[in-house]
Amino acid sequence: MSEKWSPLIVLVLAGVAAILMGSGAAWLSTSTLIAIYSLLALSVGLTYGQGGILSVAQGAFASIGAYTTGILTTRYGISPFFTLPIAVLLPMIIAFPVARLVSPLSPLVLAIATLMFATIVEILLRSGGDLTGGFLGLSGIPPLFAAQTPVTFNLIAWLAVVVVVFLYTNLMNSAWGRAINTVRHDSVRAVADGTNVARIQSLIFGLGAGIAGLAGWLYAHQLSFISPDLFGIPVSINAILMAVVGGAGVILGPVLGAVTLSLFYEFLPGQEARGMFYGAALILTLVVAPSGLLGFVRRRRPSKRSQSLKSASVLVSEKAFP
């Protein structure tokens, strides 16, 4: 049981450290960016790590969140705090029917369908004319409140991560979490448990979209400017990379991945070579440790019970899994 609380504890510590260390503006904006990427990676962690659905569209959902708040604040003067629930809910509302459409597809085709969806969203945003600012995007997005400083925004961003991890941890420890994991492993087994597989898949996809929308909302208010390619497909792929490297199946994995990779990027030579790093990192992780950093660590520690079972050499019939 105590293991279930450790994600939250570690996260709070990390958040505090980030805030304490950050006095320089450059570090603060990096820290905020890491928080936002953590959310995107968590979105992948939930959808793919727990739900088994590989979606390359999380960036697109973040875009929807960003544009929602961008449009509502600049064109209609609505306060950012009121746009927050909409920025989270609108991606979810769009995600549910999309999930229903794509969940019968095989995993590979599903991933490609999400890729198509993401491209469609990007093109629609680019051609939105006056509403979305076209390919130039929207600027002049107001801060969250008048006295917003990089320090306070950093705090809010990390608070968002903490809240999401809290909800995520609780979800996975409940009957819902068990159903989600069963659906990922074996949908026939899930059906035999009485689970409506399609409903669970839509749910997971929707929640992931909501988290991505939150990330978009934050980014819009930090940068005060958004454009259609801000959360394009490379960002979605980056999010997948962070989740996979950190350990998509472990709750804190994506956050670890986001932190590690973002810190690495800081020391990388140039913009152009980034893709080579992303690609190599993804391939290396998949070949060496497909369950990511945290997944690897977790598998190294066998359960205490099994150790005592092994030492007591009882007459054991064939093992269930060699």
Binding site: G52, L54, L101, V102, P104, L105, P107, L108, V109, A111, I112, A113, L115, M116, F117, T119, I120, I123, L124, R126, S127, V188, I233, P234, I237, I240, L241, V244, G270, E272, A273, R274, G275, M276, F277, Y278, G279, A280, A281, L282, I283, L286, V287, P290, S291
Partner: protein, 280 residues
């Protein structure tokens, strides 16, 4: 209307060129190599830089070698128990990004193209470069070659067996894992050929890879991922959709129509599968 159709077919031939290796790979291994578009770009770049006949050979060779890397990765992943179906696909994604960045770092953002024809044909009032004819001829050659390979050779039989029933294939002595790796390499070779042709048709740039792979996959799947012929025809179909929507719809809507078309086809294929499959 006829001019858009001609245009659509010309563009469609281009899409079909990459759809061929994509479908071949899927038929023989059940997976997709996302880096196929990137191999085409690499082949095009190498051909561009080297130039001449040697350039063409060098281009195709470089694409084949690049695909060889994914072949190696697939063998490495074969030994991993924790890898799921998507692992190789994700890895190919990673490789595609790697290659894209490699091209960007070495050559830059500029597109690269070569034109070997100055005169144009006039087909029903449309200016068509003779290059299109070469593309079509090449596509037909590749098509017949892949058909021959898959359906008339023992190697092809083994490939198809490995895809339909991997376990059964292993039990009958087919080296399934090697077949798979080799198929990746062969698909890479075909992508290299496509890349060289693209260089001479409409040119390429560092970012073309992903778009090509996506359209190629879309083309391959429209009529069902069942045969290279269908994939090629799928390419033509997408070309037609694109040309017609460019002709009759405002430009910003036109770019999105082919994608929506592919998306809808994917969904419909998925739903029809569940309906015919019954309750389960």
């Amino acid at each position: 209307m006829i001019d858009f159709i001609i245009l659509g077919i010309v563009v469609g031939i281009s899409y079909g060129l990459l759809a061929l290796p994509l479908s071949l790979l899927f038929i023989a291994t059940g997976t997709v190599d996302f880096a196929l578009g990137a191999y085409a770009v690499v082949a095009g770049l190498v051909c561009f830089l080297v130039g001449g006949e040697l350039g063409i050979a060098a281009g195709v060779l470089s694409a084949t070698l690049a695909a060889g890397i994914v072949g190696v990765i697939s063998r490495l992943l074969d030994h991993k128990r924790r890898a799921d179906h998507l692992t190789l696909v994700l890895a190919s994604f990673g490789f595609a990004i790697f290659l894209e960045s490699l091209v960007l770092s070495t050559y830059g953002e500029q597109p690269f193209v070569r034109h070997s024809f100055v005169d144009y044909w006039d087909i029903a009032g449309v200016r068509v470069s003779p290059q299109a004819g070469i593309d079509l001829a090449a596509a037909l050659v590749v098509l017949s070659a892949t058909f021959a390979l898959l359906y008339a050779t023992p190697v092809g039989r083994m490939m198809r067996a490995s895809a339909i029933n991997p376990l059964g294939a292993i039990l009958t002595g087919i080296p399934v894992q090697w077949m798979r790796a080799l198929t990746f390499v062969f698909a890479g070779l075909l992508a290299g050929v496509a890349g060289v042709l693209y260089l001479y048709t409409s040119g390429l740039s560092y970012s073309s890879g992903m778009h090509l792979a996506l359209s190629g996959f879309g083309a391959a799947i429209i009529f069902g991922l069942k045969s290279p012929l269908r994939a090629f025809l799928g390419g033509i179909a997408i070309g037609l959709v694109e040309a017609l929507s460019n002709g009759y719809l405002p430009s910003h809507v036109a770019t999105v129509v082919p994608l929506i078309f592919i998306f809808i086809v994917l969904i419909l294929q998925g739903t029809s599968r569940t309906l015919s499959g019954g309750r389960a």
